[in-house]
Protein backbone atom coordinates (compact mmCIF):
# COMPACT_ATOMS: atom_id res chain seq x y z
CA UNK A 1 0.00 0.00 0.00
CA UNK A 2 2.74 2.47 0.92
CA UNK A 3 4.39 1.62 -2.40
CA UNK A 4 1.28 2.67 -4.24
CA UNK A 5 1.10 5.93 -2.29
CA UNK A 6 4.70 6.67 -3.11
CA UNK A 7 4.04 6.09 -6.79
CA UNK A 8 1.06 8.37 -6.71
CA UNK A 9 3.00 11.10 -4.89
CA UNK A 10 5.76 10.80 -7.46
CA UNK A 11 3.24 11.12 -10.27
CA UNK A 12 1.75 14.25 -8.74
CA UNK A 13 5.24 15.70 -8.47
CA UNK A 14 5.64 14.89 -12.14
CA UNK A 15 2.41 16.73 -12.94
CA UNK A 16 3.77 19.74 -11.06
CA UNK A 17 7.00 19.51 -13.06
CA UNK A 18 5.08 19.54 -16.34
CA UNK A 19 3.14 22.61 -15.28
CA UNK A 20 6.36 24.23 -14.08
CA UNK A 21 7.83 23.65 -17.53
CA UNK A 22 4.77 25.10 -19.24
CA UNK A 23 4.50 28.13 -17.01
CA UNK A 24 8.21 28.79 -16.43
CA UNK A 25 8.78 31.00 -19.48
CA UNK A 26 5.66 33.03 -18.77
CA UNK A 27 6.53 33.68 -15.13
CA UNK A 28 10.20 34.28 -15.89
CA UNK A 29 9.30 36.78 -18.58
CA UNK A 30 7.43 38.89 -16.03
CA UNK A 31 10.32 38.73 -13.57
CA UNK A 32 12.92 39.60 -16.19
CA UNK A 33 10.89 42.55 -17.45
CA UNK A 34 11.20 44.18 -14.00
CA UNK A 35 14.83 43.24 -13.53
CA UNK A 36 17.52 45.83 -14.09
CA UNK A 37 20.10 43.68 -15.95
CA UNK A 38 20.37 43.61 -19.70
CA UNK A 39 21.61 40.02 -19.56
CA UNK A 40 19.67 38.66 -16.63
CA UNK A 41 21.09 35.87 -14.50
CA UNK A 42 20.92 34.63 -10.93
CA UNK A 43 21.07 36.26 -8.47
CA UNK A 44 18.66 38.83 -9.87
CA UNK A 45 19.59 42.49 -10.06
CA UNK A 46 17.38 45.15 -8.58
CA UNK A 47 13.81 46.08 -9.45
CA UNK A 48 13.56 48.52 -12.31
CA UNK A 49 11.11 49.93 -14.81
CA UNK A 50 13.86 50.77 -17.26
CA UNK A 51 12.75 48.21 -19.87
CA UNK A 52 9.25 49.63 -19.83
CA UNK A 53 10.70 53.14 -20.27
CA UNK A 54 12.97 51.74 -22.94
CA UNK A 55 9.93 50.26 -24.69
CA UNK A 56 8.02 53.54 -24.52
CA UNK A 57 11.09 55.34 -25.88
CA UNK A 58 11.20 53.09 -28.94
CA UNK A 59 9.45 55.00 -31.74
CA UNK A 60 8.54 51.78 -33.55
CA UNK A 61 6.65 50.19 -30.68
CA UNK A 62 3.64 52.50 -30.39
CA UNK A 63 2.66 52.43 -34.09
CA UNK A 64 3.07 48.66 -34.05
CA UNK A 65 0.87 48.48 -30.97
CA UNK A 66 -1.74 50.65 -32.67
CA UNK A 67 -1.65 48.40 -35.77
CA UNK A 68 -2.05 45.32 -33.60
CA UNK A 69 -5.13 46.75 -31.89
CA UNK A 70 -6.76 47.90 -35.13
CA UNK A 71 -6.06 44.56 -36.82
CA UNK A 72 -7.18 42.58 -33.75
CA UNK A 73 -10.52 44.35 -33.40
CA UNK A 74 -11.31 44.19 -37.12
CA UNK A 75 -10.28 40.55 -37.35
CA UNK A 76 -12.43 39.72 -34.34
CA UNK A 77 -15.54 41.29 -35.86
CA UNK A 78 -15.15 39.79 -39.36
CA UNK A 79 -14.09 36.32 -38.27
CA UNK A 80 -16.81 36.10 -35.63
CA UNK A 81 -19.42 37.09 -38.21
CA UNK A 82 -18.15 34.54 -40.74
CA UNK A 83 -17.75 31.92 -38.03
CA UNK A 84 -21.31 32.53 -36.94
CA UNK A 85 -22.77 32.08 -40.43
CA UNK A 86 -20.72 28.90 -40.89
CA UNK A 87 -21.76 27.50 -37.52
CA UNK A 88 -25.41 28.26 -38.19
CA UNK A 89 -25.28 26.72 -41.67
CA UNK A 90 -23.70 23.58 -40.28
CA UNK A 91 -26.29 23.47 -37.49
CA UNK A 92 -29.33 23.93 -39.64
CA UNK A 93 -28.79 22.76 -43.20
CA UNK A 94 -27.84 19.46 -44.71
CA UNK A 95 -26.54 19.74 -48.23
CA UNK A 96 -24.32 18.24 -50.89
CA UNK A 97 -20.62 18.87 -50.25
CA UNK A 98 -21.01 19.60 -46.59
CA UNK A 99 -17.77 17.88 -45.68
CA UNK A 100 -15.94 20.18 -48.09
CA UNK A 101 -17.75 23.11 -46.49
CA UNK A 102 -16.58 22.06 -43.05
CA UNK A 103 -13.06 21.42 -44.27
CA UNK A 104 -12.91 24.97 -45.63
CA UNK A 105 -13.86 26.28 -42.23
CA UNK A 106 -11.70 24.05 -40.06
CA UNK A 107 -8.58 23.25 -42.09
CA UNK A 108 -6.57 26.49 -41.80
CA UNK A 109 -5.12 25.78 -38.33
CA UNK A 110 -3.54 22.58 -39.66
CA UNK A 111 -1.42 24.44 -42.22
CA UNK A 112 1.81 25.75 -40.69
CA UNK A 113 1.61 29.52 -40.31
CA UNK A 114 4.92 30.01 -42.03
CA UNK A 115 3.53 28.34 -45.18
CA UNK A 116 0.30 30.32 -45.01
CA UNK A 117 2.48 33.41 -44.67
CA UNK A 118 4.33 32.65 -47.89
CA UNK A 119 1.12 31.72 -49.72
CA UNK A 120 -0.50 34.97 -48.60
CA UNK A 121 2.57 37.00 -49.57
CA UNK A 122 2.62 35.53 -53.06
CA UNK A 123 -1.12 35.80 -53.60
CA UNK A 124 -1.82 39.18 -52.02
CA UNK A 125 1.06 40.80 -53.86
CA UNK A 126 -0.43 39.57 -57.16
CA UNK A 127 -3.81 41.10 -56.42
CA UNK A 128 -2.31 44.33 -55.02
CA UNK A 129 -3.47 43.77 -51.47
CA UNK A 130 0.01 43.35 -50.06
CA UNK A 131 1.98 45.31 -47.51
CA UNK A 132 -0.88 47.04 -45.75
CA UNK A 133 -2.65 46.53 -42.51
CA UNK A 134 -5.60 45.11 -44.39
CA UNK A 135 -3.32 42.34 -45.70
CA UNK A 136 -2.77 41.24 -42.12
CA UNK A 137 -6.49 41.48 -41.40
CA UNK A 138 -7.48 39.39 -44.42
CA UNK A 139 -4.97 36.68 -43.57
CA UNK A 140 -5.79 36.63 -39.86
CA UNK A 141 -9.50 36.22 -40.51
CA UNK A 142 -8.70 32.97 -42.34
CA UNK A 143 -7.01 31.45 -39.31
CA UNK A 144 -9.27 33.00 -36.64
CA UNK A 145 -12.60 32.05 -38.19
CA UNK A 146 -12.32 28.34 -37.23
CA UNK A 147 -12.09 29.25 -33.54
CA UNK A 148 -15.17 31.45 -33.78
CA UNK A 149 -17.06 28.78 -35.66
CA UNK A 150 -16.18 26.04 -33.16
CA UNK A 151 -17.27 28.13 -30.16
CA UNK A 152 -20.57 29.22 -31.69
CA UNK A 153 -21.33 25.75 -33.08
CA UNK A 154 -20.86 24.31 -29.60
CA UNK A 155 -23.37 26.78 -28.21
CA UNK A 156 -25.89 26.08 -30.98
CA UNK A 157 -25.77 22.38 -30.22
CA UNK A 158 -27.06 23.21 -26.74
CA UNK A 159 -30.11 24.94 -28.17
CA UNK A 160 -33.49 23.26 -28.29
CA UNK A 161 -34.28 23.14 -32.03
CA UNK A 162 -37.98 23.56 -31.41
CA UNK A 163 -37.31 27.13 -30.19
CA UNK A 164 -36.57 28.19 -33.74
CA UNK A 165 -39.49 26.24 -35.17
CA UNK A 166 -41.77 27.79 -32.60
CA UNK A 167 -40.76 31.27 -33.70
CA UNK A 168 -41.53 30.40 -37.32
CA UNK A 169 -44.92 29.05 -36.40
CA UNK A 170 -45.70 32.20 -34.51
CA UNK A 171 -45.18 33.99 -37.80
CA UNK A 172 -41.64 35.25 -37.48
CA UNK A 173 -39.61 35.21 -40.69
CA UNK A 174 -36.09 33.89 -41.03
CA UNK A 175 -34.36 37.18 -40.27
CA UNK A 176 -36.69 38.01 -37.41
CA UNK A 177 -36.12 34.58 -35.87
CA UNK A 178 -32.42 35.06 -36.25
CA UNK A 179 -32.59 38.37 -34.41
CA UNK A 180 -35.09 37.35 -31.77
CA UNK A 181 -34.12 33.75 -31.01
CA UNK A 182 -30.77 32.61 -32.39
CA UNK A 183 -28.69 35.72 -31.73
CA UNK A 184 -29.75 36.14 -28.09
CA UNK A 185 -29.16 32.47 -27.41
CA UNK A 186 -25.69 32.40 -28.97
CA UNK A 187 -24.66 35.81 -27.62
CA UNK A 188 -22.30 34.44 -24.93
CA UNK A 189 -20.49 32.34 -27.53
CA UNK A 190 -20.38 35.29 -29.92
CA UNK A 191 -18.78 37.47 -27.27
CA UNK A 192 -16.22 34.83 -26.35
CA UNK A 193 -15.50 34.28 -30.03
CA UNK A 194 -14.82 38.00 -30.37
CA UNK A 195 -12.34 37.93 -27.51
CA UNK A 196 -10.65 34.68 -28.48
CA UNK A 197 -10.16 35.65 -32.12
CA UNK A 198 -8.83 39.02 -31.02
CA UNK A 199 -6.34 37.27 -28.76
CA UNK A 200 -5.25 34.91 -31.56
CA UNK A 201 -4.69 37.82 -33.93
CA UNK A 202 -2.80 39.69 -31.20
CA UNK A 203 -0.11 37.02 -30.97
CA UNK A 204 0.21 35.92 -34.57
CA UNK A 205 3.66 36.70 -35.90
CA UNK A 206 4.44 34.50 -38.92
CA UNK A 207 1.76 35.50 -41.40
CA UNK A 208 1.95 39.11 -40.30
CA UNK A 209 5.71 38.98 -40.80
CA UNK A 210 5.28 37.95 -44.43
CA UNK A 211 2.43 40.24 -45.46
CA UNK A 212 2.54 43.35 -43.28
CA UNK A 213 5.25 45.21 -45.19
CA UNK A 214 5.79 48.48 -43.34
CA UNK A 215 2.56 48.16 -41.36
CA UNK A 216 4.26 46.07 -38.71
CA UNK A 217 2.28 44.60 -35.87
CA UNK A 218 3.72 44.12 -32.41
CA UNK A 219 4.61 40.42 -32.81
CA UNK A 220 6.48 41.30 -36.01
CA UNK A 221 8.37 43.97 -34.08
CA UNK A 222 9.25 41.39 -31.42
CA UNK A 223 10.52 39.04 -34.14
CA UNK A 224 12.68 41.84 -35.52
CA UNK A 225 14.05 42.50 -32.03
CA UNK A 226 14.85 38.80 -31.61
CA UNK A 227 16.87 38.94 -34.81
CA UNK A 228 18.69 42.07 -33.74
CA UNK A 229 19.89 43.26 -30.34
CA UNK A 230 17.91 41.38 -27.73
CA UNK A 231 17.07 43.01 -24.44
CA UNK A 232 14.45 42.59 -21.70
CA UNK A 233 12.46 45.19 -23.61
CA UNK A 234 11.03 42.12 -25.34
CA UNK A 235 9.80 40.87 -21.97
CA UNK A 236 8.32 44.26 -21.14
CA UNK A 237 6.30 44.20 -24.37
CA UNK A 238 5.44 40.56 -23.76
CA UNK A 239 4.13 41.31 -20.29
CA UNK A 240 1.86 44.04 -21.57
CA UNK A 241 0.53 41.96 -24.47
CA UNK A 242 0.06 39.00 -22.13
CA UNK A 243 -1.94 41.10 -19.70
CA UNK A 244 -4.22 42.26 -22.50
CA UNK A 245 -4.63 38.81 -24.05
CA UNK A 246 -5.30 37.02 -20.80
CA UNK A 247 -7.84 39.67 -19.80
CA UNK A 248 -9.65 39.00 -23.09
CA UNK A 249 -9.55 35.25 -22.50
CA UNK A 250 -10.77 35.52 -18.92
CA UNK A 251 -13.59 37.80 -20.07
CA UNK A 252 -14.50 35.22 -22.71
CA UNK A 253 -14.53 32.39 -20.15
CA UNK A 254 -16.49 34.35 -17.57
CA UNK A 255 -19.15 35.25 -20.13
CA UNK A 256 -19.47 31.62 -21.20
CA UNK A 257 -19.55 30.24 -17.67
CA UNK A 258 -22.01 32.81 -16.38
CA UNK A 259 -24.58 31.69 -18.91
CA UNK A 260 -23.89 27.99 -18.95
CA UNK A 261 -25.18 26.71 -15.57
CA UNK A 262 -28.75 27.60 -16.44
CA UNK A 263 -28.59 25.06 -19.25
CA UNK A 264 -27.82 22.15 -16.96
CA UNK A 265 -24.47 20.69 -16.06
CA UNK A 266 -22.20 19.32 -18.68
CA UNK A 267 -19.47 17.15 -17.35
CA UNK A 268 -15.84 17.33 -18.45
CA UNK A 269 -16.56 19.60 -21.43
Amino acid sequence: MTGERAVRAALWLYVLAVFAFILAPIATSFVVSFNVDRFPTLPLGGFSLRWYEDMMGDPTVLPAFRNTIIAGVTVAVISTFLGFTAAYTDYRYRFFGKSVYLALALLPPTIPVIILGLAMLIFLSRVSLFGQLHSVIIAHVVICLPFAMALIRLRLSQMDPSLEAAAWNLGAGEWRTMRGVILPFTMPAILSALFITMAVSFDEYAIAWFVSGFSETLPVRILAMLQGRVSPRINAIGSIVFTISITLVILAQVILLLRLPSRGQTDDG
Binding site: G83, A86, P112, F123, G173, F202, D203
Partner: protein, 307 residues
Amino acid sequence: MPRILHPEMPTATVDREAADAPAARRARPDLFAWVMGLAMPVWQALFFVAPLGFLVVMSFWVVENFRLVPGVSTVNWVELLSARYFWEIYLRTLWYGLLGAGLASVLAFPCAYMLAFHARRRWRWFAVFLLITPFFTSYLVRTYTWKVLLTDNGFINAALDLVGLGPFSMVNNLFGTMVGYLTLVLPLVVLLQLFSLANVDRNLVEAAHNLGCGALKTIFIVVIPAAKIGLILAGAFAFILAFGDYVSPTFLGGGRPPTLSILMVDVVKSGANWPQGAVVAVTMIVTLFVVCFAAIAWAYGGGGRKA
Protein backbone atom coordinates in the same frame (compact mmCIF):
# COMPACT_ATOMS: atom_id res chain seq x y z
CA MET B 1 -26.85 14.41 -29.51
CA PRO B 2 -29.47 13.78 -32.21
CA ARG B 3 -29.39 16.10 -35.18
CA ILE B 4 -32.78 17.45 -36.09
CA LEU B 5 -33.48 19.28 -39.30
CA HIS B 6 -35.66 22.28 -38.79
CA PRO B 7 -37.70 22.37 -41.94
CA GLU B 8 -39.25 19.15 -40.73
CA MET B 9 -39.88 20.37 -37.24
CA PRO B 10 -43.09 22.37 -37.65
CA THR B 11 -45.17 19.44 -38.82
CA ALA B 12 -43.79 17.30 -36.08
CA THR B 13 -44.20 19.53 -33.10
CA VAL B 14 -46.57 22.35 -33.87
CA ASP B 15 -50.26 22.36 -34.61
CA ARG B 16 -51.66 21.72 -38.06
CA GLU B 17 -52.87 25.26 -38.75
CA ALA B 18 -49.34 26.28 -39.51
CA ALA B 19 -49.15 23.68 -42.23
CA ASP B 20 -50.04 26.15 -44.96
CA ALA B 21 -47.25 28.48 -43.93
CA PRO B 22 -44.28 26.37 -45.08
CA ALA B 23 -44.94 27.22 -48.73
CA ALA B 24 -44.40 30.89 -48.04
CA ARG B 25 -41.53 30.06 -45.76
CA ARG B 26 -39.83 27.93 -48.32
CA ALA B 27 -39.79 30.80 -50.77
CA ARG B 28 -38.21 33.17 -48.28
CA PRO B 29 -35.29 31.13 -46.92
CA ASP B 30 -33.45 31.40 -50.21
CA LEU B 31 -31.79 34.76 -49.74
CA PHE B 32 -31.32 34.01 -46.06
CA ALA B 33 -29.83 30.59 -46.69
CA TRP B 34 -27.52 31.88 -49.40
CA VAL B 35 -26.20 34.70 -47.24
CA MET B 36 -25.68 32.39 -44.29
CA GLY B 37 -24.23 29.58 -46.32
CA LEU B 38 -21.97 31.46 -48.71
CA ALA B 39 -20.26 34.08 -46.56
CA MET B 40 -17.63 31.75 -45.13
CA PRO B 41 -16.86 29.66 -48.25
CA VAL B 42 -16.47 32.79 -50.36
CA TRP B 43 -13.95 34.25 -47.94
CA GLN B 44 -12.05 30.99 -47.54
CA ALA B 45 -12.04 30.33 -51.27
CA LEU B 46 -10.63 33.79 -51.96
CA PHE B 47 -8.12 33.99 -49.16
CA PHE B 48 -7.32 30.42 -48.18
CA VAL B 49 -7.80 28.10 -51.16
CA ALA B 50 -6.68 30.59 -53.79
CA PRO B 51 -3.39 31.48 -52.03
CA LEU B 52 -2.57 27.81 -51.48
CA GLY B 53 -3.50 27.00 -55.06
CA PHE B 54 -1.42 29.89 -56.31
CA LEU B 55 1.47 28.63 -54.21
CA VAL B 56 1.44 25.46 -56.29
CA VAL B 57 1.27 27.49 -59.52
CA MET B 58 4.12 29.72 -58.36
CA SER B 59 6.34 26.69 -57.78
CA PHE B 60 6.43 26.29 -61.60
CA TRP B 61 7.45 29.87 -62.30
CA VAL B 62 11.05 30.98 -62.60
CA VAL B 63 13.12 33.95 -61.54
CA GLU B 64 15.15 35.58 -64.29
CA ASN B 65 17.20 38.70 -63.68
CA PHE B 66 15.45 39.17 -60.34
CA ARG B 67 12.07 39.16 -62.05
CA LEU B 68 9.31 36.61 -61.73
CA VAL B 69 8.51 34.97 -65.04
CA PRO B 70 5.22 33.10 -65.21
CA GLY B 71 5.34 29.77 -66.92
CA VAL B 72 5.30 26.05 -66.47
CA SER B 73 8.85 25.14 -65.68
CA THR B 74 9.92 22.27 -63.50
CA VAL B 75 13.38 23.75 -63.01
CA ASN B 76 12.79 24.65 -59.35
CA TRP B 77 11.44 21.23 -58.57
CA VAL B 78 14.27 19.44 -60.32
CA GLU B 79 16.92 21.69 -58.84
CA LEU B 80 15.71 21.29 -55.29
CA LEU B 81 14.63 17.67 -55.31
CA SER B 82 17.90 16.55 -56.88
CA ALA B 83 19.98 18.47 -54.36
CA ARG B 84 21.53 16.38 -51.61
CA TYR B 85 21.30 19.19 -49.06
CA PHE B 86 17.55 19.42 -49.59
CA TRP B 87 17.00 15.79 -48.63
CA GLU B 88 19.29 16.14 -45.64
CA ILE B 89 17.22 19.08 -44.46
CA TYR B 90 14.01 17.24 -45.28
CA LEU B 91 14.90 14.14 -43.31
CA ARG B 92 16.20 16.23 -40.42
CA THR B 93 12.95 18.18 -40.24
CA LEU B 94 10.93 14.98 -40.40
CA TRP B 95 13.04 13.48 -37.61
CA TYR B 96 12.78 16.64 -35.47
CA GLY B 97 9.02 16.72 -35.94
CA LEU B 98 8.59 13.06 -35.07
CA LEU B 99 10.93 13.36 -32.10
CA GLY B 100 9.08 16.44 -30.85
CA ALA B 101 5.68 14.80 -31.26
CA GLY B 102 6.89 11.58 -29.64
CA LEU B 103 8.48 13.38 -26.70
CA ALA B 104 5.40 15.51 -26.19
CA SER B 105 3.07 12.49 -26.29
CA VAL B 106 5.15 10.47 -23.84
CA LEU B 107 5.83 13.35 -21.47
CA ALA B 108 2.21 14.51 -21.51
CA PHE B 109 0.59 11.14 -20.86
CA PRO B 110 1.27 10.63 -17.13
CA CYS B 111 0.20 14.20 -16.52
CA ALA B 112 -3.03 13.90 -18.54
CA TYR B 113 -3.71 10.52 -16.92
CA MET B 114 -3.40 11.85 -13.38
CA LEU B 115 -5.60 14.85 -14.17
CA ALA B 116 -8.23 12.73 -15.91
CA PHE B 117 -8.47 9.89 -13.39
CA HIS B 118 -7.23 11.16 -10.06
CA ALA B 119 -7.85 14.90 -9.89
CA ARG B 120 -10.88 16.54 -8.34
CA ARG B 121 -13.17 18.33 -10.76
CA ARG B 122 -12.24 21.76 -9.51
CA TRP B 123 -8.54 21.07 -9.88
CA ARG B 124 -9.06 19.64 -13.31
CA TRP B 125 -10.75 22.84 -14.43
CA PHE B 126 -7.94 24.88 -12.96
CA ALA B 127 -5.42 22.71 -14.80
CA VAL B 128 -7.33 23.23 -18.06
CA PHE B 129 -7.26 26.97 -17.48
CA LEU B 130 -3.49 26.88 -16.89
CA LEU B 131 -3.04 24.80 -20.03
CA ILE B 132 -5.00 27.27 -22.13
CA THR B 133 -3.03 30.25 -20.83
CA PRO B 134 0.09 29.65 -22.96
CA PHE B 135 -1.96 29.89 -26.17
CA PHE B 136 -2.49 33.52 -25.39
CA THR B 137 1.03 34.44 -24.52
CA SER B 138 3.38 35.29 -27.29
CA TYR B 139 5.27 32.20 -28.38
CA LEU B 140 8.10 34.51 -29.43
CA VAL B 141 8.39 35.98 -25.96
CA ARG B 142 8.31 32.54 -24.38
CA THR B 143 11.05 31.36 -26.70
CA TYR B 144 13.20 34.36 -25.90
CA THR B 145 12.65 33.79 -22.21
CA TRP B 146 13.80 30.18 -22.51
CA LYS B 147 17.01 31.60 -23.84
CA VAL B 148 17.38 33.68 -20.68
CA LEU B 149 16.86 30.51 -18.67
CA LEU B 150 18.99 28.13 -20.70
CA THR B 151 22.12 29.97 -21.92
CA ASP B 152 25.51 29.30 -20.38
CA ASN B 153 25.10 32.24 -18.01
CA GLY B 154 21.36 31.75 -17.72
CA PHE B 155 19.21 31.10 -14.67
CA ILE B 156 19.47 27.32 -14.78
CA ASN B 157 23.21 27.12 -15.25
CA ALA B 158 23.69 29.77 -12.56
CA ALA B 159 21.61 27.68 -10.18
CA LEU B 160 23.47 24.50 -11.12
CA ASP B 161 26.75 26.31 -10.59
CA LEU B 162 25.82 26.86 -6.94
CA VAL B 163 25.82 23.11 -6.42
CA GLY B 164 28.96 22.68 -8.46
CA LEU B 165 27.44 21.36 -11.68
CA GLY B 166 27.61 22.51 -15.25
CA PRO B 167 27.59 24.63 -17.22
CA PHE B 168 25.57 22.56 -19.65
CA SER B 169 25.07 23.90 -23.12
CA MET B 170 21.32 23.85 -23.63
CA VAL B 171 20.76 26.23 -26.51
CA ASN B 172 21.88 26.30 -30.14
CA ASN B 173 21.54 22.55 -30.29
CA LEU B 174 18.92 19.83 -30.56
CA PHE B 175 18.08 20.14 -26.87
CA GLY B 176 17.20 23.80 -27.32
CA THR B 177 15.06 23.03 -30.36
CA MET B 178 13.17 20.34 -28.45
CA VAL B 179 12.58 22.65 -25.48
CA GLY B 180 11.11 25.11 -27.96
CA TYR B 181 8.90 22.50 -29.63
CA LEU B 182 7.64 21.32 -26.25
CA THR B 183 6.89 24.90 -25.28
CA LEU B 184 4.75 25.12 -28.38
CA VAL B 185 3.00 21.73 -28.30
CA LEU B 186 3.01 20.32 -24.77
CA PRO B 187 0.03 22.33 -23.45
CA LEU B 188 -2.04 21.30 -26.48
CA VAL B 189 -1.04 17.64 -26.22
CA VAL B 190 -1.85 17.49 -22.49
CA LEU B 191 -5.23 19.12 -23.18
CA LEU B 192 -6.18 16.78 -26.04
CA GLN B 193 -5.02 13.71 -24.11
CA LEU B 194 -6.89 14.90 -21.03
CA PHE B 195 -10.13 15.29 -23.00
CA SER B 196 -9.86 11.88 -24.62
CA LEU B 197 -8.92 10.18 -21.33
CA ALA B 198 -11.79 11.89 -19.54
CA ASN B 199 -14.17 10.23 -21.99
CA VAL B 200 -12.91 6.73 -21.26
CA ASP B 201 -15.68 4.69 -19.66
CA ARG B 202 -14.85 4.31 -15.96
CA ASN B 203 -16.67 0.99 -15.84
CA LEU B 204 -14.01 -0.50 -18.11
CA VAL B 205 -11.30 0.54 -15.69
CA GLU B 206 -13.27 -0.75 -12.69
CA ALA B 207 -13.89 -4.02 -14.48
CA ALA B 208 -10.21 -4.45 -15.21
CA HIS B 209 -9.37 -3.79 -11.55
CA ASN B 210 -12.03 -6.22 -10.37
CA LEU B 211 -10.62 -8.88 -12.62
CA GLY B 212 -7.29 -8.45 -10.87
CA CYS B 213 -5.56 -6.34 -13.48
CA GLY B 214 -2.79 -4.16 -12.02
CA ALA B 215 -2.79 -0.39 -12.44
CA LEU B 216 -0.03 -0.29 -15.02
CA LYS B 217 -1.42 -3.20 -16.98
CA THR B 218 -4.87 -1.58 -16.95
CA ILE B 219 -3.40 1.55 -18.47
CA PHE B 220 -1.80 -0.34 -21.30
CA ILE B 221 -4.51 -2.82 -22.19
CA VAL B 222 -7.64 -0.84 -21.28
CA VAL B 223 -7.09 2.90 -21.01
CA ILE B 224 -4.73 3.53 -23.93
CA PRO B 225 -6.71 1.46 -26.48
CA ALA B 226 -9.95 3.13 -25.37
CA ALA B 227 -8.46 6.61 -25.77
CA LYS B 228 -6.49 5.68 -28.87
CA ILE B 229 -8.11 8.14 -31.27
CA GLY B 230 -7.52 11.19 -29.09
CA LEU B 231 -3.98 10.16 -28.24
CA ILE B 232 -3.01 9.71 -31.87
CA LEU B 233 -4.67 12.94 -32.96
CA ALA B 234 -2.84 14.80 -30.18
CA GLY B 235 0.43 13.39 -31.48
CA ALA B 236 -0.49 14.33 -35.05
CA PHE B 237 -1.21 17.92 -34.03
CA ALA B 238 2.11 18.04 -32.21
CA PHE B 239 3.84 16.85 -35.36
CA ILE B 240 2.08 19.44 -37.53
CA LEU B 241 3.13 22.26 -35.24
CA ALA B 242 6.70 21.07 -34.71
CA PHE B 243 7.30 20.19 -38.36
CA GLY B 244 6.32 23.66 -39.55
CA ASP B 245 7.80 25.66 -36.69
CA TYR B 246 10.33 28.32 -37.58
CA VAL B 247 10.94 30.01 -34.25
CA SER B 248 12.35 27.21 -32.08
CA PRO B 249 14.92 25.82 -34.50
CA THR B 250 16.00 29.37 -35.31
CA PHE B 251 16.25 31.02 -31.91
CA LEU B 252 16.73 28.04 -29.58
CA GLY B 253 18.33 25.63 -32.05
CA GLY B 254 20.66 28.28 -33.43
CA GLY B 255 19.43 27.98 -37.02
CA ARG B 256 22.22 25.59 -37.99
CA PRO B 257 21.73 22.95 -39.19
CA PRO B 258 18.57 24.31 -40.80
CA THR B 259 15.08 22.84 -40.98
CA LEU B 260 12.68 23.14 -43.92
CA SER B 261 11.01 26.24 -42.48
CA ILE B 262 14.40 27.92 -42.07
CA LEU B 263 15.33 26.94 -45.62
CA MET B 264 12.05 28.35 -46.90
CA VAL B 265 12.44 31.65 -45.09
CA ASP B 266 16.05 31.95 -46.29
CA VAL B 267 15.07 31.32 -49.88
CA VAL B 268 12.18 33.79 -49.76
CA LYS B 269 13.53 36.56 -47.54
CA SER B 270 17.23 36.54 -48.36
CA GLY B 271 17.25 34.88 -51.77
CA ALA B 272 14.05 36.59 -52.96
CA ASN B 273 13.29 33.40 -54.85
CA TRP B 274 9.58 32.92 -54.31
CA PRO B 275 9.17 29.96 -56.67
CA GLN B 276 11.80 27.94 -54.81
CA GLY B 277 10.21 28.89 -51.53
CA ALA B 278 6.93 27.66 -52.97
CA VAL B 279 8.52 24.32 -53.83
CA VAL B 280 9.67 23.89 -50.23
CA ALA B 281 6.24 24.93 -48.94
CA VAL B 282 4.36 22.53 -51.22
CA THR B 283 6.68 19.69 -50.21
CA MET B 284 5.92 20.47 -46.58
CA ILE B 285 2.17 20.51 -47.14
CA VAL B 286 2.25 17.20 -49.00
CA THR B 287 4.29 15.67 -46.18
CA LEU B 288 1.84 16.95 -43.59
CA PHE B 289 -1.12 15.54 -45.53
CA VAL B 290 0.51 12.14 -45.83
CA VAL B 291 1.35 12.07 -42.13
CA CYS B 292 -2.13 13.27 -41.14
CA PHE B 293 -3.90 10.69 -43.29
CA ALA B 294 -1.62 7.99 -41.93
CA ALA B 295 -2.43 9.13 -38.40
CA ILE B 296 -6.16 9.20 -39.08
CA ALA B 297 -6.03 5.77 -40.69
CA TRP B 298 -4.15 4.50 -37.67
CA ALA B 299 -6.54 6.15 -35.24
CA TYR B 300 -9.78 5.00 -36.82
CA GLY B 301 -8.55 1.88 -38.55
CA GLY B 302 -8.18 -1.63 -37.25
CA GLY B 303 -5.51 -2.88 -34.90
CA GLY B 304 -6.97 -1.54 -31.69
CA ARG B 305 -9.84 -3.34 -30.04
CA LYS B 306 -13.06 -1.39 -29.79
CA ALA B 307 -13.89 -0.30 -26.28
